[in-house]
């Protein structure tokens, strides 16, 4: 089974649109993973039928037991994150600010402050007409989505019987969730668009991906919006020996498709759909998929 992640240096380059299109026209048995747990949008383009929902207990956060608390406030004196606040005439931990450091539990003289696993999100598996989908949602203010991404990948692997392809919609950026996504992949497809920060973003992402020894491919989305920057991206890819597997023109049909909750490759013909088909063919040939 080939493991491919679709990533981008920054959000908004069209990563999910490309991942969805590839999933739609892949033509091979596959399992899907939405690793963009902060903003899991892949499900909006396929009509998933939910199969399982699991609570994700991530970070441990502090909690003050009001029955034991003697109101000394030593915990608040020591909290460096402003997470212990006065509410309803008592000391309370604000989960939006708690870093999970446990200092308050150490200094508390009565043991009223204790660490507890905090529900930080939910993990789902669903069925779609393009294969099983593992996805998740992270609750706001919950730090470090890397571990949740790993859980999503694990669920996808458990649904991968008979699949030739595991296709992951990756998170933007280069932080923990991206690293959690790329680890164990065979290849990544970087979706970029010619904007002011494009080269800088793609360079940072390539640096990170190289540490994993994955094959790196690129796709340039909305390439015709700034031809000079497009040319610079192509030059960079050539120098770095990154195959540009496809270039997709700016196309209003893309918005239309998203609005109708389907990948742009499903429905009326369009320049973007044609470009995505060509991208699929080039990429899959390189990966040894039929």
């Amino acid at each position: 089974m080939i493991r491919l992640a679709v990533v981008s240096g920054k959000g908004g380059t069209g990563k999910t649109m490309v991942a969805a299109a590839l999933a739609d026209i892949s033509g091979v048995p596959q399992v899907l993973a939405d690793c963009d747990v902060d903003a899991a949008n892949l499900e909006l383009l396929f009509e998933p039928r939910r199969i399982t929902t699991e609570e994700y207990l991530g970070l441990e956060a502090a909690r003050i037991d009001p029955a034991v608390c003697r109101d000394c406030g030593i915990c608040a004196d020591h909290c460096r994150f402003g997470a212990i606040v006065r509410r309803n005439d008592a000391w309370e931990v604000d989960p939006l600010h708690c870093e999970g450091c446990a200092v308050c539990t150490y200094v508390c003289p009565t043991g009223a402050a204790r660490m507890e696993p905090r529900p930080s999100g939910e993990i789902y598996t669903s069925a779609t007409d393009r294969g099983s989908l593992a996805h998740a949602r992270l609750f706001p203010g919950s730090g470090n989505s890397g571990l949740l991404v790993t859980e999503v990948k694990k669920r996808a692997e458990s649904l991968a019987d008979g699949a030739d392809l595991l296709l992951a919609d990756g998170p933007p950026g280069i932080g923990c969730p991206l690293i959690a996504t790329v680890g164990g992949m065979d290849a990544v497809l970087i979706v970029t668009e010619p904007g002011v920060s494009a080269l800088h973003d793609i360079e940072r992402l390539v640096t990170v991906c190289r540490r994993f020894g994955v094959r790196i491919f690129a796709a340039i989305n909305r390439f015709d919006l700034a031809e000079d920057i497009r040319a610079r991206i192509e030059d960079y890819c050539r120098r770095e020996e990154i195959v540009v597997a496809g270039e997709i023109p700016f196309d209003p049909m893309v918005i239309d498709a998203v609005r109708n909750g389907r990948p742009v490759t499903r429905g009326a013909a369009s320049p973007a759909a044609d470009a995505l088909r060509a991208l699929r063919n080039t990429l899959f040939a390189e990966l040894g998929l039929s």
């Binding site: 207990l57 991530g58 970070l59 999970g100 730090g143 470090n144 890397g146 571990l147 923990c176």
Partner: protein, 113 residues
């Protein structure tokens, strides 16, 4: 010497776990006496920074060698600084199998650069 092996369950017949810091169990074997101690790993579900803490557990038990499938960057640094040699076992056998392979010189060291 004491060798720590990452495992999926306690005991020397447990299957080897490929990941280092998030292995469900560590089985520490004293190669001189043959005595084995299995320790449940409290870091399995920790959010981050598990590598360095796992290495501290090895250090605390006087392990000077480890057998596992792969190690992350932070663990690698701690293992190197701690002078703990790491060997790669990527088979599907048990802790005892991995230890036997290691003693027979069949396992490659994992570079900790």
């Amino acid at each position: 010497m004491i060798v720590g092996i990452t495992a999926r369950a306690p005991g020397t017949s447990a299957p080897v776990e490929q990941r280092f810091a998030r292995a469900p169990y560590f089985v520490f074997v004293d190669t001189e006496t043959g005595k084995a101690e299995s320790v449940e790993n409290p870091l399995v579900n920790a959010v981050g920074g598990v590598g360095p803490r796992a290495v501290q557990m090895f250090s605390e038990r006087g392990a000077t060698a480890a057998i596992t499938g792969q190690v992350g960057g932070n663990a690698a640094r701690a293992l190197k600084e701690g002078g703990i040699k790491v060997y790669a076992y990527r088979g599907t056998g048990s802790v005892a199998d991995a230890l036997a392979d290691c003693t027979a010189g069949k396992l490659q060291p994992i570079p900790l650069l």
